[in-house]
């Protein structure tokens, strides 16, 4: 029989949070031509057992969450990105070269318990 999981309020559950990276905040606007910043986002929140059966989680997260309910010594599954996308950056290096480069896995599109 499934052990009744504590009802975690939705807002604490694992989900994607917005995070805008403004290059000016980092002082990088002096050499990054474009973009001025980008929406990177991040994952945060609890992964109770009930969630691992619904959210796009992995099997091992399901087993780990199950074992956590039996033995709290086993850590809970964690909230991680499950879908990422790249961005392109236009910047200037120390030799005055203008460089356009693509970077994988810079934006978090979806989160899940892993």
């Amino acid at each position: 029989a499934a052990v009744p999981a504590l009802r975690a309020s939705c807002k604490n559950l694992c989900h994607r949070h917005q995070l805008f990276i403004n290059f000016q905040d980092l002082g990088w606007h002096k050499w990054i031509i474009a973009p001025k910043g980008f929406m990177a986002n991040y994952c945060h929140g609890d992964c109770p057992f009930s969630l691992t059966t619904s959210l796009n989680s992995s099997n091992y997260a399901f087993m780990q969450a199950l074992m956590h309910t039996v033995d709290p010594e086993v850590p809970q599954a964690v909230c991680i990105p499950t879908k990422l996308s790249p961005i392109s950056m236009l910047y200037q290096d120390n030799d005055d070269n203008v460089i356009l480069r693509h970077y994988e896995d810079m934006v978090v599109d979806e989160c899940g318990c892993g």
Binding site: K30, S85, N94, N97
Partner: protein, 230 residues
Amino acid sequence: FQLREYVFLQFLGLDKVPSPQKFQPVPYILKKIFQDQEAAATTGVPPNMCYVKELGVPGNVLRLLPDQGFFLYSKKLSQASPCLQKLLYFNLSAIKEKEQLTMAQLGLDLGPRSYYNLGPELELALFLVQEPHVWGQSTPTPGKIFALQSVPWPQGALYFNLPDVAKDWNDNPRKNLGLFLEILVKEDRDSGVDFQLEDTCARLRRSLHASLLVVTFNPEQCPPSSRKRR
């Protein structure tokens, strides 16, 4: 923060924070590729980051290298002597070892296209420099010729694809002695327009802007596209 910044810079392929004195002009083609990638990202369809469809070549890093060469001045300007002689040099050291060069395009911007103050017709010759410049020698020994063409002036930008030369320079940096550009003014007796040679050449020197667009492909960042599962 400095440590994390250093790690991020390494990730960008940089060894320290760039501190450009002034931003170089960004050519239309780089802006267009950047905007196309941004537009594709908003559609949710992940764009292919390892193929530059606007140029039709594989690549995930595009670099516009500014010309670091210098003008050569001939003693006396005459109709027969070249109006402009320039050694063009491009520093390819930013290209990392494991990157494969897939395209190298020389851009010669002769100044804005305009049909009002028409200049004389120009004869443009582009050579590969294959011997080191001997001091005191007025011009480098021109090697293999790349281009010899007449262009009406003002012409805007001219483009020359030099993949093999750039690959050779990248593989053997010592061979990178640059290119030698020579522009003559073609006398046009029947136009009846008298061009002041000095002014014409001075205007040409002011407006000439050379750059090398290099596209490279990093196999470590661009795994061979996995075969589509049936």
